[in-house]
């Protein structure tokens, strides 16, 4: 296990190091698909330059990173490349360990079935999953591109991975701290609070029961740790900067979407073309949409918090206001964990084709619009729409497959009708 992993790490680092040295790095770091106004490296450098000029980086509308990031890079400026590489590698190694935990969990969960041995993953199969996850993350072109562009979403991904790892290990404090860090970086990981709590409760065999005081005690404890560390982080930022300017500049910027620079998400063109008096309404609708799925999903998936984490991360990546391909790569790294759902996926081929085609068409249509002038913004917009639809189909397909597998685990794989003929499953 260690040897292939080491090989993988060497390959991944070599690819990144090689790309950093080529002229491609500059080209990639300008791509709107890879960097957003929120996490572009150019803007981090600008923020540092402003800090050097004794100007608050938040007095302008260029810098939107959190104060911790700017001070981190203030000291690590010379080692920026290494930092980003480290973040990627760290992510993979962390994920690796986390997968061991997940395996065990899966084994336990699969003790239930009666006649559907086919659905249970063999231990050998499970043995390679962590490696596969690491490979999916480290060798994913989206991750590589994002890392070469020095997009700070790599750091966010690493923080979220640390959060998942500490949750799997059952350390509530670390989990809460890392979740607070992730939330502090970009608001959306807030919704991961619920699956983490569910997982920790499950680990301690505390049933989710509103009437039980132990449930409330543990929930309040976790929330207190989470909110406490978030408060500490925010206050720390305040003391670093000496002003609250960063709150509107970071969180206001994420929520109110003033920068309409094109990206792979749904927000930019929608709000560029929006009528002014409907703007606030649709802004609320679109932002609530990201957080909205948390409650119903946690009710539906309260037995499966790991899958819930995956669903949440994916939905955030699709519906957040400034998505980049780095966010995509985070939830795509989870896909090998669900390879036992493969037989229930309905349109994985179509979706993969669409995702690949869109990834190729992004730069082409961008060039036609911005440089050649032979196409207009609608072309690029159409591709972002298609890309979003493909992601939605991918996620809902996995959700469907997961639910169907659960159904088969309880009811048997080969269902029969009352009259003995083969039955078909439908959603009702």
């Amino acid at each position: 296990m260690a040897a292939p992993l080491a090989l993988l790490l060497i390959v991944a680092v070599t690819i990144r190091a090689a790309l950093f040295r080529t002229s491609l790095a500059n080209l990639i770091s300008e791509r709107v698909e890879v960097v957003s106004p929120l996490n572009a490296w150019k803007r981090v450098v600008e923020g540092l330059a402003l800090l050097d000029l004794d100007i608050s980086p938040y007095s302008g509308d260029v810098f939107h990173e959190t104060p911790m990031v700017i001070y981190l890079f203030h000291f690590l400026m010379d080692y920026a490349e290494i930092t980003f590489m480290g973040a990627g590698v760290k992510f993979s190694s962390l994920h690796l360990v986390s997968q061991f935990r997940k395996q065990k969990f899966a084994l336990e969960a699969d003790r239930i079935p009666m006649d559907c041995l086919e659905l249970i993953r063999s231990p050998t199969e499970m043995y390679y999953i962590p490696l596969k996850v690491a490979m999916f993350y480290l060798l994913n072109p989206f991750t590589i591109v994002s890392c070469v562009a020095k997009c700070t979403c790599g750091l966010n991904n690493a923080v979220i991975a640390l959060f998942i790892l500490s949750t799997m290990r059952g350390s509530a404090l670390l989990s809460a701290i890392f979740l607070a860090l992730a939330t502090y970086q970009s608001i959306y990981p807030l919704t991961l609070c619920v699956p983490a709590l569910l997982y920790l409760l499950q680990r301690l065999y505390i049933p989710v029961n509103v009437r039980r005081s132990s449930f409330w005690f543990y929930t309040l404890q976790y929330l207190f740790m989470f909110l406490g560390s978030l408060l500490v982080l925010i206050c720390l930022s305040f003391f670093l900067l000496g002003s609250w300017d960063f709150l509107p500049a970071v969180y206001g910027f994420i929520l109110s979407v003033p920068d309409l620079t094109p990206n792979i998400g749904l927000f930019w063109y929608f709000f560029a073309e929006m009528f002014d008096h409907f703007r606030l309404f649709f802004l609320c609708v679109f932002q609530i949409n990201v957080f909205f799925y948390t409650l119903p999903l946690s009710i539906k998936l309260k037995e499966h918090p790991v899958f819930l984490i995956f669903m949440q991360i994916a939905l955030i990546a699709i519906f957040k206001s400034y998505p980049t391909v780095g966010d995509l790569s985070l939830y795509m790294a989870f896909l090998p964990v669900w390879n036992h759902l493969y037989r229930f996926l309905r349109n994985i081929f179509l979706v993969s084709c669409v995702l690949l085609a869109c990834s190729a068409l992004f730069p082409v249509l961008w060039h036609l619009w911005i440089y050649a002038g032979s196409a207009n913004s609608n072309f690029y917009y159409a591709i972002t729409l298609l890309f979003s639809v493909a992601q939605i189909l991918l996620v809902s397909d996995y959700f469907y497959a997961f639910l169907r597998r659960e159904h088969h685990l309880t009811n048997g794989l080969y269902l029969k009708k009352k009259d003995g003929s083969e039955a078909t499953l439908v959603l009702k």
Partner: protein, 613 residues
């Protein structure tokens, strides 16, 4: 009496001198003043006056008939910038032939002299022939005197030999023949428009003829000159329009001018200073005035290519002399304008009573054409360079990013001075201050003071103020990168693809005074005031504005807000719908529901009390 025809004399004094050799010794100068060059017709008049006995001689009287009939061809172009800003170009092609048309032996072998004209001269016993075609009127008030004046329309005047008996008949016949040669309506000349001037039109060649019965003069003011007159005129030239100066004579440019005049002058001239023998001289002239001021976007620069859309590549191989003269009288020290390629050859000439200075290009020498094998004379007006000026432009391509370049010039030869540069850039061009570079003379020039206020979206623009030290005689380049924002569709101007303007940068400076540049200014000042440089005089305040910038921004499609709202909401609804579907429904075994007919049948059966199907 010949002197009564008192035209100003044109005497050329060729004064070859190098630019460096300003102080020539007087001996050299005297030697060069002796090199008088008589090329113009008036020069002969001087000789006429000097040798009066010969002037009266009949040309046929003493022909020693030199065995080889010598002929010679010269071409010349004079360019004179007029005070109105127009350019006057005057071509002269001169063919001199030692043949005697009036002699006993018939002239039949033509070399340089055009045969068609020679035959006409022989047949009609013409002593002198002057014909001119002119389009436009020479504005003497604005342009001064032309070298060769001519009236608008066609003008023809002819001195016949005194052997002609029926002058009117010959005149009539001659006009018809000339009409054919020049493709002009000269056949409309008849007795109604022909006069015999008694005093005005003396012969321009040798011969002191007083009997004006041999003179006929006619004008056709309505005659319109165009390409069909130019072509036969060009055919009379030895080189045609193939080589030499005549390659410049392209009708599409020549007739796109304010004044155009072409003429043919045939007259007998002396062969040598003693005037023992005469030769026939054919002088073809073409004068044209170009209005380059309006066609050249208000610039006073001119070049051969701009005027004629051709450049000179060689002299006519048959020409013994081929020269271009440019009038540089108004530019004695070379500070007004600059002529390129520079020529060391200068000529002074008294023309029309005025001493003028000319730059001379000798086309017979290969050196005139330089390495590019073509001569395109170019006159550039020198600009008075201010001590401080600036330029600004946007670099880069595409609609994503760009770079603002500001160039600040310090033309002071030895003083550096500080300037304050202020630029306010709208928020939709997002400046990146970390990309700010200031360099002069290829070196990094750190501003000693920077005030930067970043922009706030839709609230305030970028403000960048810098204190820069400009090294002497240098260009300081300030560059800063920016990114173009995509705006909301209502924030665009009604013509969004025209672009967005960025206001001028302001450069404020204390510029060292030009007086202070002059180190010899102690002459008329008291000595006590001039020991230490005086602060008040040493510099003065100056403010320079750069050009505003026009920057294109990426634009959304303004025609489809509804479509975009619908499509994006559909995608969100697809996400919501598919999740809602999976969240609210459960998997069930599909029990196919009975068909409509079966259900209706069951309802009826229930009424009847029959068991259901």
């Amino acid at each position: 009496i010949a002197n009564s025809y008192n035209r100003p004399t044109l005497i050329q004094l060729q004064n070859t001198r190098e630019e460096e050799e300003e102080q020539q010794t007087t001996a050299q100068q005297e030697e060069q003043t002796k090199r008088w060059e008589a090329t113009e017709l008036e020069e002969e008049h001087v000789h006429d006056a000097a040798v009066p006995p010969l002037a009266g001689d009949p040309p046929a009287a003493d022909p020693p008939s030199p065995p080889p009939s010598k002929d010679d061809f010269q071409e010349e172009l004079v360019i004179r910038p007029l005070h109105s800003g127009d350019i006057y170009a005057s071509f002269q092609f001169r063919t001199v032939w030692d043949a005697d048309f009036m002699g006993d032996q018939k002239v039949s072998h033509y070399r340089l002299f055009p045969k068609s004209l020679g035959q006409v001269i022989t047949k009609f016993s013409v002593r002198e022939l002057h014909i001119s075609f002119t389009q436009g009127y020479w504005r003497t008030m604005q342009w001064g005197q032309p070298y060769l004046p001519s009236p608008p329309g066609a003008e023809l005047w002819v001195w016949f030999q005194d052997t002609v008996t029926d002058v009117d008949g010959t005149w009539k016949e001659l006009t018809n023949v000339l009409s054919g040669i020049f493709c002009a309506s000269l056949n409309f000349i008849d007795s109604t428009n022909t006069v015999q001037p008694s005093a005005s039109f003396k012969p321009l060649g040798i011969g002191n003829v007083t009997d004006h019965s041999f003179l006929r003069y006619a004008t056709l003011p309505r005659e319109i000159v165009c390409t069909e007159n130019l072509t036969p005129w060009k055919k009379l030239l030895p080189c045609g329009s193939k080589a030499g100066l005549s390659v410049l004579l392209k009708s599409e440019k020549l007739f796109h001018s304010t004044f155009h005049s072409q003429a043919v002058h045939v007259r007998p001239v002396c062969q040598d200073p003693q005037c023992r023998t005469t030769s026939m001289e054919l002088r073809q002239t073409l004068n044209v005035v170009f209005d380059l001021h309006t066609s050249g976007q208000g610039k006073r620069e001119w070049s051969l290519f701009k005027m004629f859309s051709r450049t000179l590549t060689e002299a006519c191989p048959l020409a013994s002399s081929s020269k271009v003269y440019v009038d540089v009288t108004d530019n004695p020290q070379g500070e007004q304008f600059e002529l390129s390629p520079a020529t060391p050859l200068l000529t002074q000439a008294v023309v029309l009573g005025d001493r003028r200075t000319y730059s001379v290009y000798d086309l017979t020498q290969q050196a005139s054409f330089g390495s590019s094998r073509s001569l395109n004379m170019l006159l550039r007006w020198k600009m008075l360079r201010p001590l401080l000026h600036s330029e600004r432009y946007v670099a880069g391509y595409g609609l994503q990013a760009g770079e603002i370049h500001t160039l600040i010039y310090n033309h002071h030869p030895y003083r550096a001075f500080p300037v304050l540069l202020l630029s306010a850039v709208p928020w939709y061009l997002r400046l990146y201050i970390h990309t700010l570079t200031v360099s002069s003379k290829g070196k990094d020039n750190r501003p000693s003071y920077i005030h930067y206020q970043p922009s706030k979206d839709r609230e305030r623009p970028h403000l960048l103020e810098m204190l820069l030290q400009l090294p002497p005689n240098s260009v300081t380049e300030v560059t800063v990168e920016f990114e173009r924002a995509l705006l909301k569709w209502t924030e665009y101007t009604p013509d969004p693809n025209h672009g967005f303007y960025v206001g001028s940068s302001v450069i404020s400076a204390l510029v060292p005074s030009v007086v202070a540049m002059d180190t010899n200014s102690t002459l008329d000042r008291p000595l006590f005031s001039s020991f230490f440089p005086c602060k008040e005089e040493a510099s003065y305040f100056m403010r320079v504005y750069t050009e505003p910038l026009l920057v294109n921004l990426p634009t959304p499609d303004f025609s489809m807000p509804y479509n975009v709202i619908c499509l994006t909401c559909t995608v969100v609804a697809v996400g919501y719908g598919s999740l809602y579907n999976l969240l609210t429904r459960t998997f069930q075994v599909d029990e196919p529901s009975p068909g409509l007919a079966k259900r209706i049948a069951n309802v009826i059966r229930r009424f009847r009390g029959v068991p259901l199907l």
